[in-house]
Structure formats: C-alpha cells, structure tokens
Symmetry: C2
C-alpha cells in the first residue's frame, strides 16, 4: 500500500511567502496517526482502485484534518500539539489564522486530482463533511456554556466533529475505486460507528488511561468539567445522592488531584466505565457488521483489525 507519510512528505511547501507556507509544513510534519488517508486508501483497496486515483482525495482529507487542528488550537489556546509548540505559540495568532486558511484551500487544491467524472460528488461530500465539522465545533463551544446537555446532544456533536470525517474518508475512497451506492453507504456507516467509538474511547482514556502510554495528564477533562460521555452518563444515571456529590465536585476548581480522584471513584462506583465500554462495543459491532456487505479481501480484513484496535488503543 502507498506510504501515506511519504506522500505527505512529498507535498512541496518550499514556496514564497515563507511566512504563509512554513507553518503548513510544520503542522503536516508533526506526525499523527494519518488515520483518515489510511481509511480512504484502504476503502479503495477493497475495490481494487488505482492508488493514484485515490491518493489526492486521501491527502486532501489529511490536510483538511490538520487545518481543523491548527484553527482549533488557536480557539482553545492550546500550547502543545503532538509534543510540539502549536503554530499560534511558535508564530502568532494571525499566522495561525492565515496559514490555516491557506491549508483549507490546499485541501481543495488536492481535490483537483480527483478523476474528473468523480469530482462533483467528491467535492459535494467534502463540503458536507467540512460543514459538519464546523457545526460540531460550534456545538462543542455552545455545550461548554449550556446548563443542560443530553447524551443525545453529545453524540450528535461528536458525530459531526469526529465521525463524519472518518466516514467520508471511507466513502470517498470506495466511491473513487468503484464502490456502488450500497457499498458507499456501508463504508460511511462503518466509519461513522468507529468514529463514535473512537471519541468515546478518547473520553475514557482521559480518566482511565495509563499515564505512561496516554501522552498527556490523566483527568484533564474532569478538572475542567468537560461534558464528556462519562460525565453526561453519570449525570443521567446517578441516583440522587451520587448526583449531588458529583454536582458539588463540579463547583470545585482549586483541588485538582482530589477532584480527579473523587470523580473517578464516583464514575467507577456508578459503572460509567462499563457503560462506555458497552456503547463502544455496540458501535464496533455495528461497524463490523457493515463490512460483511463488502467484497471480502485483505483490505476488508484490515478494516476489521482497525475497528478492534481503535477501541483497545492506549493513546
């Protein structure tokens, strides 16, 4: 299979003005899982698609994903991403805004390489996906300040913010390689479900992850009262007394370690961890089911392994 990292390295950012392109090169060189292009390429492989036909869209998805991280980091005032200073710290806010804008344009430029007869649909899906992600980001911000957020709201938000990008990567890769409509739909649903499982696993790792492998401090979400799948599940299912205790801890902002320990203990007692795991397993099972309707080969198997791996990952 195509070496995605190699293909990303081969993108040329040695252009002028340097102030615009160097932050893009920096962002794309910082690694990451390259999950989205890998999904697109694997989906295409199922249908024996030509790599050169799918690669432009796969790269567009990765560049787009990194654009969202760049702008999110400005909005969240994040200092570190993948172990390195974020762009707005290393340069400044304006650079992060403008180079981010250019990165979004670069994603659309890469779409020019999509076979002409497929471009219309791929562009339309790409726009729909990009819109979903901006909407998801806005809901995420809105939920921070909302007094009432339901588990259903939360799932809608993470579907837009995370799942549609994975889903669209798969559908796009399959479509370019010749998947029919039912197969495109199956790929999309597979991606949507692993995306949801992926995000819930993220929430879970923040509380129950191993500090040695997780890569960031455990309990960050608890400290800042982030409305995660865990917190919302606890608030929706806890008996009155436990709920009162939880709500009290949400008011505490000066005793981080104590708060993390207490809220984690509450989650454990309430079976929140198991509730997460059940939800994740359901999504993984749904995802795997979708694969049964596709041609069976090495690439389909790779998606099976990936679905399992995403929910057992440690970081």
């Amino acid at each position: 299979m195509t070496d995605i990292n190699k293909a990303i390295e081969n993108l040329d950012w040695s252009k002028e003005p340097k102030g615009l392109y160097e932050p893009i090169a920096y962002t794309l060189a910082s690694g990451g899982k390259r999950l989205r292009p890998t999904l697109a390429m694997t989906a295409a492989e199922i249908f024996g698609g030509k790599e050169e036909d799918v690669l432009p869209a796969a790269l567009a998805l990765e560049v787009f994903h990194n654009f969202t991280l760049l702008h999110d980091d400005v909005m969240d005032r994040a200092l570190v991403r993948r172990g390195r200073e974020t762009v707005h710290v290393k340069w400044n806010d304006n650079t992060a805004i403008l180079s981010g804008d250019q990165m979004l344009i670069e994603a659309y430029k890469l779409l020019e390489g999509v076979p002409a007869d497929k471009l219309g649909k791929v562009l339309c899906w790409f726009n729909e996906m990009a819109t979903g992600i901006c909407e998801g980001q806005q809901y995420d911000v809105d939920f921070e300040h909302a007094s009432q957020v339901s588990l259903g709201d939360y799932l809608m938000m993470i579907e837009k913010k995370t799942a549609v990008l994975l889903a669209n990567a798969l559908r796009t890769g399959g479509y370019i390689a010749g998947a029919d409509e039912a197969e495109q739909e199956a790929l999309y649903e597979y991606g949507r479900h692993i995306g949801l499982a992926f995000q819930i696993q993220d929430d879970l790792l923040d509380v129950y992850g191993d500090p040695k492998t997780f890569g960031k401090a455990i309990g960050g979400d608890i400290c800042c009262n982030k409305k995660t799948y865990l917190l919302l599940t606890a608030l929706e299912t806890a008996p009155a007394e436990d709920k009162a205790e939880l709500l009290e801890w949400l008011l505490v902002s000066d005793r981080d370690q104590e708060k993390i320990a207490a809220v984690t203990a509450l989650y454990t007692r309430l079976g929140v961890r198991e509730a997460c795991e059940v939800e994740m397993e359901q999504h993984t099972a749904e995802a795997l089911l979708q694969l049964d309707s596709l041609p069976q080969n090495k690439a389909t198997d790779a998606l099976r392994v990936l679905a399992e791996k995403l929910v057992t990952r440690k970081s």
Copy 2:
C-alpha cells in the same frame, strides 16, 4: 440582469447552530459594492450565458470575498466594517475564526452549482485565486515590517491581494458562458488591470479624498506609515532633501494632523498625485484595450463604463 443583492439575500443562513451561521448572515447583509459577482455576471452576459449557470460561481466569489474581510478584520483588529461593528467585536475572535472558516467552505459549496463540465477548471481557478489572496495578505504583513519595499513588490502584492479576484471573477463568468481561451485571457487581463487601478485609487483617496464622501478619516495611511503606492513612489523618486524630510516624518507618531498635512504637501510637491494618476490611467487604458477583442454589446459597454468609474470614484 440578475439582482445580485436579491440573490445574496436569498441564501439561507437560518440554520443551526446559530452561533456559526448568524455571523455569516450578518457579514453578507452588510452590503458593499457586490463588484465581484457583478463582474462575473457581466462577463457572462457578453457571451449570452444563462444566468442560472453563472450565478453560483458569482455568489461563491462574493462569499469568498466577504470571508477574506471577516478574517482580515480579526488580524487587523479592525473595529468597524461598512459602518457596523466587525464580527470579532460583535461576537468574539473565536466566532470570527470559525464562522469565517465556514464561509470559505460555503463558497466552495456554491461552486457545486457550476455546470459539471466546467467545474474542474472553475475549481482550479478558484483555488489559484484564493491562494493568491492568502499570499498577498502574507506579503502585506511582511511588507509592514520590511525595511525595503520596492514599487514592484507593492504592485505584486496588490495584484495578488486585490486584482486576481476581480480578474478571476471575469474569466470565470466568461468561461461558463462560452468564452474561448483568448477571450478568457482578455477578460482576466481586463480584471487584473482594473484591480490594480482600483487599489491605487484606494491609496490616493486616503490622502486626497473628500472627507464628506470618502467614508473614513483622511490620512489614515500616512499616520501609520502604510507602504502605499504614494509613499513608495515618493521614496523612490524624491530628491535627497525631500526624501530626508519624508523619512523624518515617518518617525513621528504623536502629531497626526501635522504629519498628515506635511506629508500630503510633500506628495503634492513631488508630483506623487500625478504619478498615481498616470499609473491608473495606464491600467485603465490597458483594461479598455482588452475589451476590444471581445464581442461588442451592452455588457461590453458596461465594463467600459465600470473601468472609467472605478478610477473616478470618490469612495
């Protein structure tokens, strides 16, 4: 001809989440000249193109232009745009960033309406134009801090930042309506030249405009030492003594009215105003020349009138 304002009003922004879409509606409702879509529609009219074929691209160009203003206002910390609070003031920086991103995506969404057989080229040109504008913006920032900027550098910058959008609007409109390659090129060159004249006129109005009709304070560029066509011409052409006086005024930052009066007097004495007018007239003449190679009708005449009007405008 299509009522561009009506078509823009008809775009539906009453979507959820409101925090994402309301700033877009606000930005697009603030008026402006609607110059870019008008140019696209007029170019199409020359070739008898169907309005419904050209309108999506015309609207995409206007939405894109307004996206650049939205993000530029964040970067420039501008408080007012077209007589109203800018988005980052009325809402906040994060809203301006995210709604701006969505606006850029909305521009690409509008391109979905381009006839399928024309989409590839229109998308490719749109990307090239968008890239030029981001590069131009970066050069503009770079030039602010650069000790040496030549008139040539400046013309390159305004070509990217202003002229390519007008040029591409015309070329795109003509192409969709059936212009051949030579005609596309003539439209592009017409647009590029009026764009350059337009920007130089902007610089000129900032110094010599009538405060009653200009809409903002006269001399703003002089106060902040903005490297305009006027300042760069003065620096390149002034005799040693005048140049020394000008450089001294550039160091003054506490006597705005005195500085404006003195620098304006210097410009006038050095014939900078006339130099601008000559440059503008040359670009206008070049632009008009391009029109001679196109089919001659009411729409071509409208472009002639527009070219003259742009360089005699008062605001």
